[in-house]
Amino acid sequence: MGGGFSAILQRDLLLAFRHRGEIANPVIFFFIVVTLIPLGLTPEASRLAEIAPGILWVMALLASLLSVEGLFQSDYRDGTLEQLLITPQPLYLMVLAKVLAHWLITGLPLTLLAPVLGMMLSLPTAGYLPLVLSLLMGTAVLSLIGAIGAGLTVALRKGGLLLSLIVMPLYMPVLIFGASTVQRAVDGFPVDGPLAVMGALLAFSLLISPFATAGALRVSMHG
C-alpha cells in the first residue's frame, strides 16, 4: 500500500531538484510582490507594520495558487497520469504523495522566507512565530485545496485562470484564520484559538481533498 506513496514522493522530489528553477519561482514571486507593496503604498514603517500580517498572507496565498497549476500538468502531458490511474495502488495515497511533495517544494520555502519579508515590512516581533506556524499549516491546506482545482482543470487548454477562479473562494477561510493569527499575536492576544482552527482545517482537508482530487483526476482523464 505504501509503495506507491513513497515512490511518487521520491520521484516528485527528484524531479523538482533536477529543475531547481521551478522550486525558486514561487519564492521569488513572493519576494517580488511583497517588494511592490512599499513602492505602491508607503515606505513608512508604522503603516507597513499595520498591514504586514494581511499582506504577507495574501501574497503567500497567491504564490501557492500560481504554483499549484503545475501539480499534475507535466504528468498529464507525458502520459504518466494515465499510468498512475491504472496502477493497482490507491489513488488517494498517490495524490497525497504528490500534494506532500508540492508542499515540501513550495509551501515550506514560502514559510521559511516569510519572517525575512516580515522583517522588511517591519512586522512587530510578536508576530514572527505565529506567522511561521500559521503558514506552516496554512500552505499545506492551500496545497490540498488547490490540488482539487488542479485535478479538475488539468485536461483543459487554458486551465490557469479558471483554476484561480474556482479555487480562490475555497481559500478564503484559510486566509481569514491565517491572517488573524498573526494580527492577534501583534495585538497581544493569545493565538491558540485560530491556530487550532487552522489545524482543524488541515485535518479536514487531509481527509476530504485527496478523495475529491482523485475523483477530479478520473473525470479529467476519462470524462
Binding site: 482539487i148 478564503m172 481569514i176 494580527q183 482545517l201 479536514f204 470524462g223
Partner: protein
C-alpha cells in the same frame, strides 16, 4: 418501487410531465408574486425607523433564500448525477447554476440599494454580505467550469465534483466569515432589524418567499426543458415532436 426512479431518469418522461405542470405552476407563481408585491409595496405598514425603504426586503430576502437553496439544489442534483449516472440530474444541475447566480446577484444588488438609505453607503464588508459575495463566486466557478469542457459528460462530472466540494465548504466559509467579522466589526454600523417582524409586514414576506420558490421551480423547469431538447436533439422523439409542430408556430417562434 424503483419504477418512478427510472422514469424520473428519463428526460423524455420529464419533458412530457413537466409540460403538464408548467402552466399551473406559472399561474401560481404569477398570482403569489403579484399578490406579495402589491401587498408588500402598497399595503404593509411603514417601518418606524426606515420608512418606505425597508420595502425592498420583499425582494431581497426571498432572493437571498433561494440563492442559497439553489446552490444545494445544484450540488445535490450533481451528486445524484455522479452516483446514479442520471442524465436528467446533470441537466438540472447545469440549469440550476445560472438561475442561482442571478438570484445571488439580485440579493447583492438589492442589498446594496437598501444599504444606501439605511447605512448611508452602498457597500459594507458585513459578514452576511461577504458570505453572499463568496457564494456568488462559487456559482461563477461552477458555471465557468461547465463551459470550459468540450465533452458534455466531462463538464457535468467536473462541475458536480466542484459543486459538492463547494457545498462541503459553504458552512466553513460562512462560519469563518462570521468569525472574521466579529473580529473586525466596525462599531458604527448595525443591522437595525427588530428581533421579530410585525405580522402585517411578515405575511406579505411569506407570500413573496412562496412566490419566489414557485418562480424558481418554473425557471428551473424551463431551463431544464431547453437543455433536454438541446441534448436530445438527435433522438427520435424530439425530431418527431418538432415535425408535428405546425409550421406557423415555428415561424412565430422565430420572429
Amino acid at each position: 418501487m424503483w419504477q418512478w426512479f427510472h422514469r424520473l431518469g428519463s428526460p423524455r418522461w420529464f419533458y412530457n410531465t413537466s409540460g403538464k405542470w408548467l402552466p399551473w405552476l406559472s399561474v401560481l407563481a404569477a398570482i403569489l408574486l403579484s399578490l406579495g408585491v402589491v401587498w408588500g409595496l402598497g399595503f404593509a405598514p411603514q417601518d418606524a425607523k426606515q420608512g418606505n425603504s425597508f420595502r425592498i426586503i420583499y425582494i431581497h430576502v426571498p432572493a437571498s433564500f433561494l440563492a442559497l437553496a439553489g446552490y444545494y439544489v445544484m450540488a445535490i442534483s450533481g451528486a445524484v448525477g455522479l452516483i446514479w449516472k442520471m442524465k436528467l440530474a446533470d441537466m438540472v444541475m447545469k440549469s440550476a447554476a445560472p438561475i442561482g447566480a442571478v438570484l445571488t446577484f439580485v440579493a447583492l444588488v438589492t442589498g446594496a440599494i437598501w444599504g444606501k438609505p439605511t447605512w448611508g453607503t452602498y457597500w459594507v464588508w458585513d459578514a452576511r454580505i461577504t458570505s453572499m459575495l463568496v457564494l456568488f463566486f462559487l456559482y461563477l466557478g461552477v458555471i465557468a467550469l461547465q463551459y470550459s469542457y468540450t465533452s458534455q459528460d466531462a463538464a457535468s462530472k467536473a462541475s458536480a465534483v466542484l459543486s459538492l466540494v463547494g457545498m462541503v465548504n459553504i458552512p466553513i466559509i460562512y462560519k469563518s466569515v462570521d468569525w472574521w467579522y466579529t473580529l473586525h466589526q466596525p462599531a458604527t454600523i448595525r443591522l437595525t432589524e427588530a428581533p421579530s417582524m410585525h405580522p402585517d409586514m411578515f405575511h406579505p414576506l411569506l407570500v413573496m418567499i412562496l412566490g419566489f420558490y414557485c418562480f424558481y421551480a418554473v425557471a428551473l423547469i424551463l431551463n431544464t426543458r431547453v437543455e433536454i431538447l438541446y441534448r436530445e436533439r438527435r433522438t427520435r422523439w424530439v425530431q418527431d415532436m418538432v415535425l408535428e409542430t405546425p409550421v406557423s408556430e415555428i415561424r412565430e417562434g422565430q420572429n
